[in-house]
Amino acid sequence: MRNFTWLFIFLMFASTLQAGSRQLGTGAVMQVEGSSGSGIVPWATIAGYGESDETDFTGAYTFLGTDDYEFEAHGVAVGWHNRLEFSLARQSFDLDTLGPAIGLPGATLRQDVFGLKVRLAGNLVYTKMPQIAFGVQYKKNKNFLIPGLVGARDDSGVDYYISASKLFLAKPFGFNGFATVTLRSTEANEIGLLGFGGDLGSRHINVETSLGLFLNSSWAVGFDFREKNSNLSFATESHWRDVFLAWIPNRHVSVVAAYADIGDVATLTDQKGFYLSINGSF
């Protein structure tokens, strides 16, 4: 509840200020690790709506609840001149079922993610070539007891990714479609919540993709897919996927509701649930 109060104050504050001048929706939303993108995939977009002489700030709160887990993320980001993006996200992952089962009721995995992204070329809307960006996510696990016990090697790690994103004006059928492909090099276990590396290996290159469509100027639907690998023999990881509905009434607010399937996580199978993310920008 306290989260929502702060969020409300933030949104009230945000809407009194100016936002950048890029077109509605082109700032995308904050993904789970704090970078501009969709639910689980970083895009080549720079957070906020700033163009080459503008700087925007974004904040977001994200929640995902499955049968056995509760995920939360608080993030802030600054998008500088539609060129650079700095972000910080604090994630928590409550082990509602697993904690009590292993004699640690109330156990929570925590991680901080520092992100940096640079737009290398292209413009999401106006150029024929896609917008292309390179990004880094430095991840620091804050509660390494459980990750260490299940065999993770490190409590910190760096993800590198290259991403291409494109908005297709009037395609298909006059709607504006959008697509992103991201290649990520990572050694994270369950995006880093279970540490980095393990007995089965460490660094992998994974494909992530996001596809969608604006139904009108303020509503979009889409689909995310994120490939994952297993470094820990105690439990296999599943690829993640979600379908989302985004509402972008203006340049200050966006809300994403999604249904996410994160599969098997730390021995508990078939984790699915609703995802909600609220973003504010100014």
Binding site: S21, Q23, S52, Y126, T127, A170, K171, G174, F175
Partner: protein, 143 residues
């Protein structure tokens, strides 16, 4: 050699057919928009916005509204495949020396979208019009 010539001719024919097809579908866009009356309304709404928008109004200080109106109408008409010929300077010449920034271009596009909205142009037709003008960004801006 002869074979190559035939292939070249076929290539040119195919190309011009596909260009004609593209033009035919643009023709539909002009009709679909509602022809000149609607383009007039869009332009009026656009000028009401850009000439009063403090972020970009200064870019039009040296222009006469009626002349600008006429130029924009004929350009939208021609680009959407209507029966008009735009006789003004091209986009590079028109905007040279104005040092237009990307952000100013985007402010103009937002006003253009609002103008089409005010003229009750359906969303999907708005996108088709934007798709034509989006590629002009590099010619219009100076970055």
């Amino acid at each position: 050699m002869k074979n190559l010539t035939i292939k070249s001719i076929l290539f040119v024919i195919t190309l011009s057919c596909s260009l004609n097809q593209a033009h035919a579908s643009d023709d539909n866009l002009y009709q679909a928009l509602g022809g000149e009356p609607v383009i007039n309304t869009i332009t009026k709404e656009l000028l009401d916005r850009i000439l009063n928008n403090e972020k970009i109004a200064f870019l039009f200080e040296d222009t006469v509204r009626d002349e600008l109106h006429e130029k924009i109408v004929s350009q939208i008409c021609m680009e959407t495949g209507g029966p008009c010929v735009y006789e003004g300077l091209d986009m590079i010449e028109t905007h040279s020396g104005m040092d237009i920034k990307y952000s100013e271009f985007d402010v103009f596009v937002s006003d253009f979208i609002d103008a089409m909205e005010a003229a009750e142009v359906p969303y999907r037709l708005q996108n088709k019009v934007l798709a034509i003008f989006a590629s002009m960004r590099e010619d219009i801006t100076y970055e």
